[in-house]
């Protein structure tokens, strides 16, 4: 279902609908994010912004519609997932049949070897099924089997995010929080760690260096060993951005990054967001209530109300749109 790829779009949401029981939180929203832009999603409270955001981040599966990331369908309704186990067992089953055939034909030694091969074939199949590498997802995708990416897979694909209500790992240090953000870009497994291979040590050292770099980038150098929960509020928000940056995203989702901030902190955060786009070329989707921030940094603004898209365009166009004014201030204000 991946369809034709439109060039220059990082994210392409097509007809996304999310129902919770009888409540339609998001209704048939089409939404695109051009590469390298800052796009904002606004709307009154309860307009479905956060729901839509969570669909993009892979938290909710949409009731309808699909999300393409870099031209590849990553989120949609699952299809034919029941057929997936067939792929895991097709090779072992063939081997098993051959083994039984060999035993019946009286070639005992080959039968036993084939039987052993059957057992050995099941293990890698199950490992692949558990870890779901990209090539495996593509392979079963060609057979029409589709399952939405899980949130951690979205991070591996290149979507980082922050939270509306800060969710740092409070007991862990600033450095470790950022290093958790790097998790999907690191490769050390249990064996590397157990044997203390040089590869593992070098990766850890490089990760510490990179983490320090990101901490410095958001202006928090010197706080590396402080526990995250002891940081002042504005710094916690910055740390969330550093943690998201550490996952090397192509698209960063910011959920109300200036909520609860004073004007000075808000200005610094706005500058940081603009800087992230300019220096690092990261595309940004912003959900925000502070219109000063939205109008200041956005290239494009999309307005949701009651789960539907009611306006889209440059900040000036949206500001002048009567439907937007109506949604925010009521009908009287729009006609006045």
């Amino acid at each position: 279902m991946s369809g034709e790829q439109r060039p220059g779009l990082v994210l392409d949401a097509r007809g996304v609908t999310k129902r919770f029981g009888g409540l339609v939180a998001v209704r048939a929203v089409d939404f695109t994010i051009p590469s390298g832009s800052i796009v904002s999603l606004i709307g009154p409270n309860g307009a479905g912004k956060t729901t839509f955001f969570n669909v993009i981040a892979g938290v909710y599966e949409p009731s309808n519609g699909e999300i393409l990331f870099n031209g590849e369908t990553v989120i949609a309704r699952p299809r034919r997932t029941w057929a997936e186990p067939i792929y895991w067992f097709v090779i072992p089953t063939i081997l098993l049949i051959l083994a039984v055939a060999a035993l019946l034909a009286g070639i005992g030694i080959i039968g036993h070897l084939l039987f052993l091969a059957t057992l050995l074939a099941i293990i890698p199949a199950l490992i692949v099924a558990l870890t779901r590498p990209r090539w495996y997802v593509r392979m079963i995708g060609r057979a029409g089997i589709f399952r939405s990416s899980r949130p951690n897979e979205m991070v591996s694909l290149g979507i980082g995010r922050t939270f509306q209500n800060i969710r740092l790992f409070g007991n862990m240090s600033v450095l470790e929080n950022v290093m958790v953000g790097m998790h999907s870009r690191m490769h050390a497994n249990l064996l590397d760690a157990a044997l203390r291979l040089g590869r593992h040590r070098r990766e850890e050292e490089a990760a510490v260096r990179d983490a320090r770099k990101w901490i410095k980038y958001v202006g928090m150098a010197g706080y590396e060993n402080e526990a995250a929960r002891n940081l002042p509020y504005g710094y916690q928000r910055r740390l969330e951005i550093a943690r998201a940056l550490a996952s090397e995203p192509k698209l960063m989702l910011l959920d109300e990054p200036t909520a609860g901030m004073n004007p000075v902190e808000t200005r610094e955060m706005t500058e940081l967001i603009a800087r992230v786009r300019k220096d690092l070329g990261i595309t940004i989707l912003l959900i925000e209530h502070d219109m000063g921030v939205v109008m200041g940094v956005s290239d494009r603004v999309t307005v949701l109300d009651h789960g539907e898209k009611i306006a889209e365009g440059s900040p000036d166009e949206v500001r002048a749109n009567p439907r937007v004014i109506e949604a925010y201030l009521g009908r009287g204000a729009a006609s006045a």
């Binding site: 007991n171 998790h183 249990l190």
Partner: protein
């Protein structure tokens, strides 16, 4: 707040560590004196015995505390994983064909290494299978559901061993020679030394793993906030499976130690060992790996001290009284909560 507060934070952490170290040393000295008074010269042997028993409890308690830390489940099947581990090592040793002490140090080392790696690996996989099929489907169910399931898994493991292997006590080959080593004023049996060193090495490795590696960080972040960890790219399914693998692997190691030290195992073993190890985990602060290790040794010492003073049959009463007292006066346990949190 200025960056100058960062070193302050470090100072606080290390002060806590010093308190812990000093407290532990003081408690050990006190325990030694009490034992020496009660045992009349046998104090040293009893002290080593307590360390050994404590090490076994500590290895089991780590699995309880890690699983609780990461999915807030009291894994009642964990004691039985330990029991199955002791049967796995029994099976391996009898299958290879050893019945007595191995005097060749090289051969002994190889057999021990193979035994531990095999038993830990098998039990780790068993733990992962239990998690996959018994607990993962219930991950978002009410807390009581996986708890009851854990009790069910416990019965399954017991019955599999009872029906499939043996319904009575089996004798494990004693492959470590019964020699006594004299190191200065300390005389210690080879097996005690081996068990204590092994347990300390495993626990130190675990602490390093949790504290300093990518997967350890993933485990801690998942323990703190599972959803946030997943949204930051941590695959929580593999992380939780890994936690079960390591926790069950340590129980498997404890199972081998059980066979080597006590020479027997039985299918009901897991229930009592599990109960004591769970108490150890709660005593130290469930969810805290350092606490679990500490709690294990505390229970070992309580049991042995009770025995030294002739109240061996009362040791369970003493242990659980200690648990009640700790929970009343310090409900989060000796060291408080959270997987991998620095004391």
């Amino acid at each position: 707040m200025t960056p100058a507060t960062a070193p302050l934070g470090r100072a606080r952490l290390s002060a806590g560590r010093w308190n812990l170290a000093l407290g532990t040393i003081a408690a050990l000295v006190a325990a030694y004196v009490i034992m020496d008074l009660g045992a009349g010269g046998e104090g040293q042997a009893q002290f080593i015995n307590a360390l050994t028993i404590g090490a076994i409890y500590a290895l089991i308690a780590l699995g309880y505390t890690m699983v609780y830390g990461i999915i807030e489940l009291i894994n009642f099947a964990h004691g039985d994983v330990f029991m199955v581990g002791s049967f796995v090592s029994w099976w391996l040793l009898t299958t290879i064909g050893f019945s007595g002490a191995i005097t060749d140090p090289l051969l002994l080392g190889v057999i021990l290494a193979v035994g531990f790696v095999f038993s830990m690996g098998v039990m780790g996989v068993v733990g992962m299978i239990i998690e996959r099929f018994a607990y993962r489907p219930l991950r978002n169910a009410p807390r009581l559901a996986p708890l009851i399931t854990a009790i069910g898994v416990s019965f399954i493991l017991q019955n599999v061993i009872q029906v499939g292997v043996s319904n009575s006590i089996v004798t494990t080959p004693q492959i470590i020679p019964n020699t006594t080593l004299n190191i200065g004023p300390v005389s210690i049996r080879a097996i005690n030394l081996f068990i204590i060193v092994l347990a300390v090495v495993l626990m130190a490795a675990l602490q390093l793993f949790i504290g300093r590696t990518r997967l350890g960080r993933a485990m801690r972040s998942t323990a703190i906030d599972r959803d946030a960890a997943q949204l930051m790219g941590v695959d929580i399914n593999t992380t939780i499976a890994l936690t079960f693998f390591i926790g069950s692997g340590l129980a498997g190691a404890a199972g081998v130690v059980q066979g080597l030290y006590f020479g027997v195992t039985v299918f009901t073993l897991g229930f009592y060992a599990g109960l004591f190890a769970f108490t150890a985990a709660v005593l130290g602060g469930i969810g805290n790996t350092t606490g679990a290790a500490l709690g294990g040794f505390v229970i070992g010492f309580i049991q042995v001290i009770a025995a030294v003073y002739g109240y061996g049959v009362w040791s369970e009463v003493v242990v659980f009284t200690a648990l009640v007292l700790v929970l009343v006066f310090r409900p989060t346990g000796i060291l408080g909560q959270q997987l991998g949190e620095r004391a």
